[in-house]
Symmetry: C2
């Protein structure tokens, strides 16, 4: 009675259920994918994920002895022991490579001459290694990795490329049946296809404990993601603890326990930086702000029921000067707390019902000459917010509606395309207007379904829209979004990984890396590696890992 063979039966079952259900409208039948069990084989690229741009793996195997092998700064590197970012990465990757073996004391014996890999030398070429910087949209993540006896050399202009190369190096090492650590001689040249490779986490619908966020940052690094889009506040709760406006979280968070203090935020940002990951916070307005209103008087629009206030509130009140004073102070703080050059300003899904009910808003509309076109009022508001954020010397990302409604945007604005229908048309329009864009629409990972849906995410081709070469260049990446309606710390990790890994390879590897069978063979191993490194990534299909999750 396995589900895979029985999807047809289940379709009928839903119909039967509808007939026998007395208490609610039956849901539509679920179209289950009939899953052929894939044949697991060996990829010529081993367990590498995402696949490097250029890769040559030679047959010659070298052995690594845990007690002797070193990750070191190579000759001529502009980064040395003073570069804490690399020092931390060396220790981390030593642990990832050797730390999980069951046979840690093996391989201490002297090896035959000429068969041992003694070192990985990391050489940063650029005068400014950027060791103490934060990564940004233009960060150079390219690297070259050459594994030959007796030392491997990892060359990169900047530390960001070194981080990506360390991950790749760690993925090249494998254990044989005797517990020896082996690596094949290899030559790799690698760099990302897209500059913006993000994961969206939502900490408003459900609070995510710090540990969940940090664990996810680890997993992101294993998959060469470089942006955490932190959808930190929304209607349901305001966990961001503001120094300027402490009442926002004081009254707007779920409880006193469900808060990110300034220390927490700092920790996330620093932990991310050490992994070459940017943290872009989203403070979405004027909609999605119910929780803001709890701690900030007069921020939201009072809704009216005829002539009287109804007691409920709508979007941010766009007609008061106090609103803009508040926003100026808040975004000034946010701009300093989050070092990234971009802030996500949201701007999606504004419901006009409340504005329409409010007589003061109506009067303001008349004064401004907006008539009854509330989209003009929305644009008026957003324009002011964009100006505020510009004054704070930040760039911004907005959801596509802001572009669609004709708000005047700075040329360096990034428009995030999320509406599922006809997103390729939207990509054409946005880039046709000369704006940079990132794609989220096909990668809403909170939508779950039975079976191997990673293939669906994997098969998206982001440049498959109509446009000139110049337009294609404006498409700079994408994001896998895990909205939080049904996700919290209990299920976040297995729901996100390895499904997001499919998006990770799509955004990093070459356009022609599309072989699903080869991807499956590599991803199965990559998933087991994530598990070994403490990420509770769920299985792709039947099978096992040598090291199963134990502590769950």
């Amino acid at each position: 009675m396995e589900p895979a063979r029985l999807f047809l039966g289940l379709l009928c079952a839903s119909a039967a259920l509808a007939a026998s259900s007395l208490h609610q409208r039956a849901p539509p039948p679920e179209p289950l994918l009939l899953e052929e069990e894939p044949e697991l084989g060996e990829s010529p690229s081993g367990s590498l994920w995402p696949l490097p741009r250029s890769l040559r793996i030679l047959p010659r195997q070298l052995q690594l002895a845990p007690a002797r092998f070193e990750l070191v700064h190579g000759p001529g590197s502009t980064a040395g022991p003073g570069c804490a970012l690399l020092q931390d990465a060396f220790r981390r990757y030593y642990e990832y490579i050797f730390g999980y073996s069951k046979w840690q004391n093996q391989g201490q014996r002297q090896l035959p001459a000429g068969t041992e890999l003694l070192q990985l030398q990391v050489i940063i070429g650029s005068k400014d290694s950027e060791c103490d910087n934060y990564p940004n949209i233009t960060s150079n993540e390219a690297y070259q990795l050459s594994v030959t006896e007796p030392v491997a050399v990892l060359k990169a202009e900047k530390v960001w490329g070194a981080l990506r190369g360390l991950e790749t190096f760690s993925q090249l090492v494998y254990e044989d049946d005797y517990g020896s650590f082996l690596i094949n001689e290899s030559e790799i040249t690698d760099y990302p296809r897209f500059a913006h490779r993000g994961i969206l986490l939502d900490t408003s619908r459900h609070f995510l404990p710090l540990k969940s966020i940090l664990t996810n940052l680890d997993a992101m690094a294993f998959n060469k993601f470089n942006v955490l889009h932190w959808h930190i506040v929304d209607d349901h709760s305001f966990p961001y603890q503001s120094i300027t406006f402490p009442e926002l979280s004081g009254k707007g968070s779920y409880t006193y326990d469900h808060i990110y203090t300034p220390t927490d935020v700092r920790l996330v940002v620093d932990y991310a930086r050490l992994r070459g990951i940017r943290v872009i916070p989203e403070f979405d307005s004027p909609g999605h702000t119910q929780s803001w209103g709890k701690g900030q008087k007069d921020l939201l629009t009072p809704c009216f029921n005829g002539e009287h206030q109804s007691g409920s509130y709508g979007p941010v009140n766009p007609i008061l000067n106090t609103t803009y004073h508040f926003m100026t102070d808040l975004f000034k703080e946010i701009s300093s707390v989050f070092p990234d050059a971009y802030i996500h300003l949201g701007g999606d899904e504004v419901d006009f019902t409340c504005w329409k009910s409010n007589p003061d808003v109506t009067e303001f509309m008349m004064q401004q000459g907006f008539g009854i076109d509330y989209a003009k009022l929305e644009s008026y508001y957003i324009q002011k917010i964009l100006d505020i954020v510009s004054s704070a010397h930040k760039g911004y990302i907005v959801w596509q509606e802001v572009f669609d409604k004709g708000v005047k945007l700075k040329p360096d604005t990034i428009v995030e395309v999320w509406i599922g229908s006809w997103y390729t048309v939207e990509l054409s329009r946005v880039t046709g207007a000369g704006f940079t864009t990132i794609l989220a629409a096909p990668w809403y990972l909170d939508y779950i379904s039975y079976g191997q849906d990673w293939k669906k995410y994997y098969s998206v081709e982001p440049l498959n829209f109509i446009g000139s070469e110049k337009q294609k260049k404006l498409m700079i990446g994408g994001e896998a979004c895990l909205w939080g309606e049904f996700v919290d710390a209990t299920n976040l990790t297995p729901r996100l990984w390895p499904r997001a890994s499919a998006v990770g390879e799509r955004l990093w590897s070459s356009e022609n890396v599309t072989n699903i069978k080869d991807a499956y063979n590599r991803l199965v191993k990559h998933r087991c590696r994530m598990l070994r490194r403490g990420i509770a990534a769920e299985p792709l299909f039947v099978g096992y890992c040598d090291h199963e999750a134990r502590g769950l």
Copy 2:
């Protein structure tokens, strides 16, 4: 850009994706449920789950002082300190009630006279408390609970009812804002609607570490489930370590690490017993046995390609005497290792292709007068297996195909209905033929979908089939099945709970307990309670728990 508001857009997105996808057939569009955010309120029944059959909660509150409160054997009880099962349960429930408070040192002060609950007295009424027994299909799980100052009394005929009552008592206790533990005076009379309330776990497609199984047994007890249907072996792996045939797991398990030793099995059975849970193992044949063939020569049918063996194998070979000798010895062992009176024998989904290809099978068919009706051969095989298991003095459960094919069954056979289409018709047929039945079809929890699918499971009415009163009595329960194709220790718990809780209440509570809104209010609290007790149950919808999962 929340998913809930955008399901229509997503439907269209799938179409757009199909057009742009080059590498695989696009999946059918996903019909997403438009989810209204439910209003969370207080149920008059607090956080009780499943709802007791009869319940009176009075306004008067009593306080419990952790340092003084005791769970004790009451006067006249036939169970005393010698009853390890109850002793263990007392300690467990003390911990569940008080162990998670952040303010453990509160409430030590003397309370005003007449406001404190000092004890829960547990009184077993029957001469045989069944303290040292294993639970079985006829076990009496009824109890009465009376909470009045200064002592609460829990009366049950047998320990099984006491276990259920302890769970209910623990669910009545709540903490106020000052960290005090309170309980309302209450009167409860309770007993299950159905005798068989099961969870199916599959340890063949993926191995489940022992800890996962034990954690699940805890969760089952919190939801008053009483059967673990352990689908222990199948095509993919044979983790059961047989004493008689050690090669079955020696060659048929994934690795030496992916095995349940006799000690492991004993531990599961005992852990379950202490929680009033039966363990029914499933050894499915003649199909679903590929892994068996690895360690047992000549057990499976060799398939032919024309005149030559193809090298692959089909179902169990039903024409050899050695097959039945092997099965006799194996089921003899199984019958002694698993104390329950029932074994699940499977019998589903037998593919005839290989049998048809084999000339020896063809000849046997002719000798037996089966012609070309391979269903007769299947029945011949299953009949012999049933006889073998009967000789080992065990009852059996079979999947519905065994009944459908007219195999002669002992009158006490339980037929499990799993095929989704028209399962109500099947229930009529099975019970019409006088057989006991359990229902799994609408509760395949491995089928996931976006949103609150617990409502779908909750709204099933198991007796909603055409049949006499006598037939209805033959429907003795059901099972929530979590097949393992896409489930292992990384995602088992959040995928199963609280979705299975919906099935739990359906099988325990009265037929008229169908109010979805009230269920939601209770289940949200019940889910947070499971979380507090170490079960990573996923959220039902937006919101929070006072104690979030931290260690994930």
